[in-house]
């Protein structure tokens, strides 16, 4: 179970990664001109239904999550954004009365199949939650958690990879002298970046972010948005957000959810400039939701 072999370390940037200054949202970064169909899919969802007990929360969701792109999921409260995201790593399995049906294709297999190895699935699809949730251990042990869980590592390589994950999460400079302090002694924004470091240390392919900025202040939010833009080079990111400006700032594709259905999905520029559905337009112009 834990005996998974270590991936070739070549894909890891060495320590000393320079954090570039804050990225301005450039027009050419936009995915509007990309050929959507030709981009590789990381995850493709077909006919996803979700139930809380007898109550159905998602209805036939279809969506394609593109590799190395940021896909934002927006919509009013209770529309099923988080529920949708929580199906990708089967975290809902913690609760007996929740179940999903349909197809979530990831790396050639259906995530929802009973054959899926949840431990490996969750290694490959990491998750960041709304509330920062550092484990009750030191900063170092927090980041090392996934590494120790999934890989056999020597002490030196472990520290190297912890440092690397903290650097790539743009928090190294703030915590390098606090590695042995408890993780929850950090500020809220730092805790959230620590959680991101913890998730990326385990070498996932996908990062699911469930409103990662809703519990932290604007400055910390800006840092995390910046981080998302940097991380998409290596990871596929799905971001649930209440904040439409945030979706506009960081995402390439946007899906608009309403009452458990995906009303519209397309390049972020299109969704925000010329939405085709009336509901989408009303939502993004603030007329409801």
């Amino acid at each position: 179970m834990v005996g998974t072999k270590v991936d070739e370390p070549t894909q890891i940037q060495g320590p000393g990664t320079v954090i570039p200054p804050r990225l301005e949202v450039a027009e050419d970064r936009r995915a509007g001109d990309e050929d959507f169909a030709s981009l590789p899919n990381e995850i493709s969802v077909h006919g996803l239904d979700f139930f809380y007990g007898k109550e159905q929360a998602l209805f036939g969701n279809d969506i394609e999550i593109k590799k190395n792109r940021v896909t934002a999921v927006i919509g009013p409260s209770g529309c099923g954004k988080s529920t949708h995201l929580r199906a990708y790593n089967r975290i809902f399995n913690l609760y007996r009365d929740q179940r999903a049906s349909g197809e979530i294709m990831f790396d050639g297999t259906n995530v929802l199949s009973s054959q899926t190895d949840l431990l490996d699935l969750r290694r490959r699809i990491g998750m960041i939650f709304q509330k920062p949730s550092p484990f009750p251990m030191t900063v170092f042990d927090n980041v090392a958690y996934g590494l120790r869980q999934h890989y056999r590592l020597g002490r030196a390589e472990l520290s190297m990879r912890v440092e690397d994950a903290l650097k790539r999460s743009a928090i190294w400079d703030e915590v390098k002298h606090k590695l042995n302090e408890p993780g929850n002694a950090l500020s809220g924004g730092q805790q959230q970046r620590l959680c991101i470091a913890r998730a990326i240390a385990a070498q996932p392919d996908v990062l699911l972010m469930d409103e990662p900025c809703s519990a932290i202040d604007p400055v910390a939010t800006a840092k995390i948005e910046e981080l998302i833009l940097e991380l998409k080079d290596k990871y596929t990111i799905v971001l649930v957000t209440h904040n439409m400006q945030q979706a506009a700032r960081v995402s390439d594709y946007t899906a608009f959810f309403f009452q458990g259905r995906i009303v519209e999905f397309g390049p972020t520029t299109n969704i925000f400039s010329c939405p085709t559905e009336k509901q989408t337009e009303e939502y993004i112009t603030g007329r409801f939701g």
Binding site: M1, N89, I91, L94, R96, L118, L119, D120, L121, R122, R123, G126, M127, F129, Q130, K131, S133, F135, P136, M137, Y145, G146, Q149, H150, P182, N184, A185, C195, R198, A199, A202, F288
Partner: protein, 302 residues
């Protein structure tokens, strides 16, 4: 979305009397003060009496000599009873804490609202309400009667039986306080459930769990009834594990039963020993409480 309809024309609002509400507030405040004061003063009186009378019995002999075999002699102490109580209580803790902890983990993490868990929870609540003498009789029936002799171990089992539901329910309650986000975060890292439970959830609740276990020990440390038919009492030192004087082999001296025996004797010397023993139990329980609180206060931030 829709504009709020204006209130229809009506008579102006009449104010309720502020004075009467203030008076009601004062009455409730005074009553709760009186209640608190009454409760506290009764407890203080008990404590005062035990300390004043008990401290007089505390001397070198009290902590080094075994209980007197000859009631007429004024020598002797409570040392064998103190040792016996510590051993019997520790034995009970060794049995009940691990089982109770695991049961609590099951209730909070796995069973939750399932039928099995609901059943176990109900049984635990019922057992918590069972008079301790019944528990003593139960231990007598399963361990003393079949083996044809009293034993300290039987006493431990009786106490463990009392501790078990307390331990299970406090463990459950404390684990339920751990936010679900922490469980989800652990599972989302690809860690198996048992690992998240032990290394993340229980670690987060560590301080509370240890306090809970201590409270469970404290709950039984002063019990007398379960020991009446099990550990019984003895004027001798415990001699080891087996044999007629041993933990498994025969009656073991203990504080509560000895206090019970001596307090009813007409000899002032024995009565004094009983007061001293009572004080010892109070100090032991209080000390354990304070110690755990001091040690694990910091644990909360983890």
């Amino acid at each position: 979305m829709s504009a709020v309809a204006p209130l229809p024309e009506q008579a102006p609002l009449r104010h309720r009397s502020v004075a009467s509400r203030k008076a009601a507030d004062l009455v409730v405040k005074v009553l709760s003060w009186i209640g608190a004061l009454f409760g506290m003063s009764v407890m203080a009186l008990v404590l005062y009496e035990v300390v004043i009378r008990g401290i007089k019995a505390w001397n070198w002999a009290f902590f080094t000599q075994p209980t007197p075999q000859d009631f007429m002699s004024t020598s002797g102490g409570m040392a064998n009873a103190i040792v016996g109580t510590l051993i019997i209580t520790a034995g009970a803790a060794l049995i009940a804490i691990p089982i109770g902890f695991l049961a609590g983990v099951y209730l909070a993490e796995y069973g939750r609202n399932g039928r099995t868990a609901t059943g176990i929870r109900m049984v635990a609540n019922v057992v918590m309400g069972v008079p301790s003498i019944i528990v003593g009789v139960f231990a007598f029936a399963i361990l003393v009667k079949p083996l044809q002799h009293y034993s300290g171990f039987a006493g431990s089992v009786a106490l463990a039986f009392l501790m078990l539901p307390v331990m299970a329910r406090t463990t459950e309650d404390i684990l339920n306080l751990v936010p679900n986000e922490l469980r989800e975060s652990g599972l989302a890292m690809g860690a198996p459930r048992w690992r998240v439970t032990l290394r993340v959830v229980c670690k987060a609740a560590r301080g509370g769990l240890i306090t809970g276990a201590t409270l469970a020990v404290v709950r039984v440390a002063g019990e007398t009834a379960p020991l009446l038919f099990t550990a019984l009492s003895s004027p001798y030192w415990i001699t080891g594990l087996f044999g007629p004087g041993g933990y498994f082999g025969g009656p073991v001296s203990n504080l509560t039963k000895t206090i019970f025996d001596f307090a009813g004797q007409p000899y002032p010397h024995l009565q004094a020993l009983a007061w001293g023993g009572a004080l010892f139990i109070i100090v032991f329980v209080l000390g354990l409480n304070i110690l755990v609180r001091l040690l694990f206060q910091r644990g909360k931030e983890w």
